[in-house]
Symmetry: C2
Subunit: 147 residues, 2 copies
DNA sequence: TTGACAAATAATAATAATTATCGTTTAATA
DNA sequence: TATTAAACGATAATTATTATTATTTGTCAA
């Protein structure tokens, strides 16, 4: 997709969402999309600063949040912000409630084994799999029905 | 396993590791093991404080780190501490290097589909799967061979 | 048992990541 | 082009975590 085209799409999406198309916002989005390496907000800030030296880190954080809320962007993991500890030493995976952040264990044996269709060509040595089943837990589902 | 027995095992493990068996350390471990809900350090602190009101939050953090380093404990996720952003909207999963924290995308199509063997009995509504292949990336593997 | 010494602790300061506040500027639209 | 709500920059505040340091406590050997 051409740059011009994706820019127009971005502007259209902003209008749908009632977001002003500012110079800063546009550049944050453009840099984000050009990075691809699962960057941190700090890294995005550094990249955008090359084009707008006076931009504030807060603006980068705020726009990232806006994009996340709008679904233009995702976080790699739900478990960022605070450490969660694991005491279960049995092989298992996790059910993760995206609403209340509850984490429930599910024994490995309840899932069909994960398998690669072919060898990776990246030289990456896989040591273990970690599977998360993301969704809404029973408690949260009930709560939202009641209201 | 009885409490007395697991306590003795804990003490033995500490001696193997050269760790002093202190009142605080023992209680932090005991509470951790009794919680099971993937607690945060703060929550562990609150629980331990019921038994040792004067304990310091720093002591809880430091012991958790010690347990993690010793392999007595695990973190639920590698992605804690700082936000990582995702711009790839195609269905995919992740290769996560546990050494350098690099995250690489792997198309969903390269993995056999994840499937539950039977329905969950927890009332949990699964919306999507997130699979992480944890291991060592090519760059890191090469670096450790060179030295 | 006791005494010496390393390790652990409590108190507290420092740091890192992120969010909130607020006065000023800018984009949307009438 | 004037009005107004939204966004911005500067900065303070907050949250999670780590570092520092003086004091206390296990460990181990005599």
């Amino acid at each position: 997709m051409h740059y011009e085209e994706s820019l127009r799409q971005f502007e259209a999406r902003c209008r749908e969402l009632g977001l002003a198309v500012t110079h800063q916002r546009t550049l944050i989005y453009r840099e984000l999309m050009s990075m691809g390496e699962h960057p941190t907000p700090e890294l995005v800030y550094e990249r955008v600063r090359q084009h707008i030296p006076a931009i504030s880190l807060g603006t980068v954080y705020k726009n990232i949040r806006t994009f996340l809320d709008a679904g233009l962007l995702r976080e790699v993991s739900f478990h960022h912000g605070t450490q969660r500890l694991e005491t279960n030493v049995e092989p298992h995976h996790h059910l993760v409630c995206t609403r209340c952040r509850k984490i429930l264990d599910i024994p490995e044996s309840e899932l069909e084994p994960v398998r690669l269709k072919k060898k990776l060509k990246t030289g990456f040595k896989v040591e273990r799999f970690s599977i998360e089943l993301l969704g809404i837990c029973g408690d949260c589902a009930q709560l939202s029905q009641e209201n």
